[in-house]
């Protein structure tokens, strides 16, 4: 594929790109034209359709994949495409993951590890609950394609899986380290804590809040999903169900962060820490160590989410 970050001036491009934004404008002479932003997973590029009447130009909108015939040129220091033809692409002609930011880790490997952690849960009704979600092919597909957030951190395909796995590993350590913790409850809660995000956010490339996400939110959605599945497991003790749902409701740790209850069980407290530390460490990693960041030891400027300036440490000498 001809990735956007490899386009040079003077090339003839025939490729499928994702339309991020399209706006119709008028030149000073009153001629209409289109200003388009195209994207793939390596970045975005500005493009113009000067002659909308040229044969083969079809209507398209943001979030469409379009097959373009175009020429590249440099304009004011940036690369730009002049589109000659453009039509919406058939869904079989492209691989969405070429167009979207993705986890650096292999989705299948992460999912396998999550399933091994599910298998390590000893209480039968808990394991049954987990399998009712994670052995379901539709759920798996949605879960693996979701991000963990609209912005801030883990905002990429596979982000929800990556974040869930990481939080579960941290909880697994906590269960070993703080021996009074109920490991089965904690792991089950950790694995389920963000499943509501599969409904709170629409799938990529939109990745925006759904109506349900705006009105109910992933915390209560997730609690409802767990509660519904528990109804099909009659031997699931009522008290244990309440404890599990409490852990999900309380996982943001404080009322002002959207949890309707503060953690009242040790497992709920441990989960809220694991979730919080993972979100913050990933935010730092993306800011300091991601491919597009400046040299790690350079100060990155004020980070709104963390409320401070950031930099990476210097290497040991």
């Amino acid at each position: 594929m001809h990735f956007i970050n490899q386009i040079k001036a003077g090339e003839q491009i025939r490729e499928i790109y994702l339309v991020k934004e399209v706006k119709q404008l008028t030149t000073k002479n009153g001629k209409p034209y289109w200003n388009v932003t195209l994207q793939d997973k390596t970045g975005t590029i500005n493009a113009k359709v000067w002659d909308p009447n040229s044969p083969g130009i079809e209507d398209f909108e943001a979030m469409d994949y379009i097959s373009v015939m175009a020429e590249s040129q440099e304009y004011q220091g940036n690369m730009q495409l002049i589109i000659r033809q453009a039509k919406t692409a058939d869904s079989g002609d492209y691989v969405p993951s070429d167009y979207l930011p993705c986890s650096e880790y292999d989705v299948d490997e992460m999912y396998s590890e999550l399933q091994r952690l599910i298998d390590s849960v000893k209480t039968d009704y808990m394991k049954k609950l987990l399998k009712s979600f994670f052995d379901d092919a539709d759920f798996k597909k949605k879960f693996c394609f979701s991000s963990a957030a609209k912005s801030v951190h883990h905002n990429f395909v596979g982000g929800l899986l990556e974040h869930t796995l990481s939080v579960t590993r941290v909880c697994n350590f906590f269960a070993k380290h703080y021996t009074f913790l109920d490991r089965d409850l904690l792991l089950t809660a950790a694995i389920c804590h963000d499943i509501g995000k599969t409904k709170e956010l629409s799938p990529y490339p939109a990745n925006d809040y759904t109506d349900e996400g705006q009105l109910i939110g992933h915390i209560v959605i997730g609690a409802e999903m767990v509660r519904d599945h528990i109804k099909d497991i009659p031997e699931f003790p009522e008290t244990k169900a309440r404890e599990l749902i409490h852990c999900i409701l309380a996982h943001h740790g404080e009322l002002e962060f959207g949890s309707p209850k503060k953690p009242a069980l040790c497992e709920a407290m441990a989960l809220s820490f694991a979730d919080n530390v993972d979100a913050k460490m990933e935010t730092m990693r993306e800011t300091i160590y991601s491919g597009t960041a400046s040299s790690p030891t350079t100060w990155k400027g004020m980070n709104r989410f963390l409320g401070t300036n950031l930099r990476g440490t210097t290497p040991e000498e």
Copy 2:
């Protein structure tokens, strides 16, 4: 009945009272005795069992109703009972409402009015939902016996009904006054907004948080109850269900007051105001105008819940 606030020194008392607290102590001479607090709806009185071996004294605990034979006397300016006999009373021998603080309004009349408001809801599936709760005898019994809070305001038998009716009336007014409001959605939400309290608090005389109340809380419990009933009404539109549940989740108005979402619909905003104004006006009424308060125009001292000193207004001259 021989109400506690009418006992005078030197009387022989034979009556059933509710045990609020009982503690075994030892006199300076090493003799065991019991210190008991008895209550009825008019107040509480201190009582002593000096001779636990006297015939007819049975074991009893806090929250028991006991039938006592006793003498009254004044001690350090307060009335006191010396108990000679005490045995737990049969549940048919007393009327709980004689022992518990009750709404000043007639429960049946309030319930009838609430049902008239339910009948005024025009959308069929909404009315069906409301009737699925309020035409159910078990639900009605619990609902009418509950308080609206463990303390602060409406802490009496019938308090939940009184508060719900009042909030619904305020919302009914808002629906007329702000014509863009969806009256059916608003009234349905108002009537259901606190139904989770039937499970958050245990019944009187305990009136304390249940395990479910501590772990889940009445906001999410109420949302779950509504969601469960909607499942049995297949024609209930999904979007409308979401809007209704949003109103219940958001009725505390702010995240820090335990709502997992802030009001995003006009009806959710109107309900949160109606709930808040009713809680605050009732708090003021109980502090300033209730039977046990000092003269209304006297300053009452700092009120913790309202964060200010309070008094009633002077009469117009």
Copy 3:
């Protein structure tokens, strides 16, 4: 009148508009020209004066009404005027309400209703106080022309009257619903609560904070106005005067919103709720249901004042 939202390309325009902004600039060739924004109640339009020396062009400033002779053209997708002549208009030649956002309700009808509410106040000295303001022609003129805020909500001619009437109606309902409320005190306070705004904000089209508004603020200004008028009503009891002034001082409900006292009387609490609910419901109405808003059920984006995203409810099916 030739309203701005009806101008099409290629028209000759002779009309009076309000100048919102005017700036003198220089072309690349060093020639001075003016960039002007004109407004009427339907919107704004950009205009240029390329030749300031052409006969008939007079000096004008922002907030002037000017009579222009101009041609319309489309430029970069927007309509634009090229002004040939421009002179300040005589105040008799235009109707200010054509140029300013106005209440959707009839000002006279609203005022009549407010006066009926004043007539319903039974306590003589209270009614006398209200009439001393609202029977005064100068006060009436200012009051009816004011907005209720510089921005956020009720920011239009008649906004102060509309908001005051609405708050008074809500208080009228509260007085019926919460029977311990002193209706005369509450209504008098409601009707007077924002009269300080007639001095806090300058009249339209400026509608900006006055020096007095910045230094004293409408809360204390309003309290002073009431206090001054009470001095002319010798039979007004001192305690009642204090209670009324307290209601005005406390109507923002919390110190951090500019009230120097929190509500310590039931009437002050009720008024602060009525004021708050009316401000928030109107903000929602303007955002969701006003003429310029997108379809009501579309999410409107984060609202700063309310701290949440908003949408209107779906219609009952």
Copy 4:
């Protein structure tokens, strides 16, 4: 006078004391008696009236000055009086300042210094305003007898004068140091900033909030007093009056401390600092260096008002 802190066991006391509290109680044998707390400026003492029928015992209440005939004795390590006779004292028979905590400084000298500062104000209408208060004998009497607070700091006779003088001196320094400050405005505001306290608090010995204090508060009361006096000085410019009143309204510095406006003028900012620093320094002085405190360099424990533990510095070696 026989001061309370000098009473020894076994003395016959004939003296006038101030009644701080009086409660009627009943002995175990059912006999009524009185428990009384008496105070003078050196402290308080418990007293009993065992025989209320003894000749010469009159009715008295808290805040009365009573002339007692009594015997002193030690009871459980504390001194106690057994009262034989008690009658309310004539106001000419005692000097209130013997019974109340007083400023360590001479009231007349402080007042003279304040008047010299008034004389140093150059703008005629400002000086006239100040003299309209401080040359008024009634105002002077109230002002000199008031405390600056109900508790926390400067809670003694003369406290308001002492605090006002100190704040004015600090402002006088600020006017010299920050040369852009308008000295006349600043000094006038400083001298008047707390005059509302003469009406917010009732006179000693009660020293409690008045009804006006609760409902209006000293900030707005003070602004009203200044405004009323300005009305009698026709040459006082309106803008200057607004600036002065703004300084008084804003002198608590932040809305959450009860100022309806934040300081928007340099003089208002300077005054709010002078007021705040004087309150905090005096709180520290009373806690660390007052006669009843432990050795200055001992840690005093958490101070609620200042939010920290406190101690005095060690002497330079």
Copy 5:
């Protein structure tokens, strides 16, 4: 040893106890006596010295160890000692750990594990720094005897060591899990993060804030200690020293918790989480699972530090 929780009525006691509190009082007859609270690690007991003139009674103060000869008796349901003789004990005659709450873990084993973690640090200058503290016998003694707090959590002998070890283990896990973390920096910071507590709190049994603790606080004290030791390690890079000191300064995570800087390095963020999770998990463990707590699954009541009610989970069925 005759532990306090095993004393029965009517025993002759000869044992050494720690004086927690001592107060001189006077009987109704005017006779002086002493009221004493004695403690050992199993609890506290009230004791009286009725005859201070009896031979062998010496002066003693709170925090003294005294050897008593006494009789036990029951008084108002509690055990009590009547002391006949009392003299301060020689420091060789008792083992302090019999009198003080201690870690449940073996101090030597914990210290050995901490030293193994120190040995695992690969960067020479970091390891040298750690050994300069932890190979110093005086430091070790203080460090092992300290609590991690005056109250709230880890308030026992060995508490600082136990908390430090636990935080270091959590950081060790983080370093493996978040591979971009600089393990040597993180472990060094974890091991040193609370060393300032050896100077902030006085040794047991007082365990109270020192003057240095009050004025400087363990965060800055710890940073100073590290900085002083680094001066003796000339090859320690300046930047690395700054990063390490930053981690210590920022380990409370937020300014309002006393850190003068928020975490700006990933390692500082990870350490602040490890410290916080360990403090909260231990608080929960002490409240729910410690020997003196009620059954784990019972609700424990509002916990001030955590801001919520707490209980342990029910066992898996």
Copy 6:
């Protein structure tokens, strides 16, 4: 010197300016050119280098002083330079203070006054400490060249000296006014309170946070500097050293403003007030009365740092 605010169109300029920003761009025709912002103490000017190949054009970067040969012209109402030649200037050819904002006061006079205040400190070890800083030529140079902040207030060469002197004078007054204050401690603390800023901010023209500033901050840096110097004064009492360092640590007054301790000594409290009042008064002065501000009595708009609109007072009439 040819100051920027005096350049007129059509001049030939040969002058040295400071480069604030330089960016390489490409014209529509693909030709590279440079867009440069030049500054001196009177302002900034836009400049272009159209032909980078012209003889004599050297490489330069932001923060370089360059000697330019250029022509001035007006472009879109602003003055602009067309640079023909540009080379970096020798450090002897320009006076930095011509290019940087400077204190309005003479640095030497301010320094002399500060030294007189140092001389007035009576305690030998304190004076010795102060002289160890202020008699050191290197320290003096840095101290006099520093600003007191990166933005907000005193952001100019000499700002740290001006602010320090002003705070010290205020403290000097406090020491006279509040006689229980330890003047030597207070003055020493005042003079040293911000010395950490010499290391927190890099020297002008960058004036940005250093790595040490970001990680440690001027509060702890200052405390360390004082502590290091005290080590060389063996007679400095330990307790006094702690008190002095406490004053520096606590000078921001509240934990959330970055002080790791709240003021626990009177002197620490006085210093935090002096620092705060000086920062706020200078912010007001710069906003209202500085050369570039509009007429003082005009409202200046919302000031972010002070949270309010501002204006200067009207002149006394």
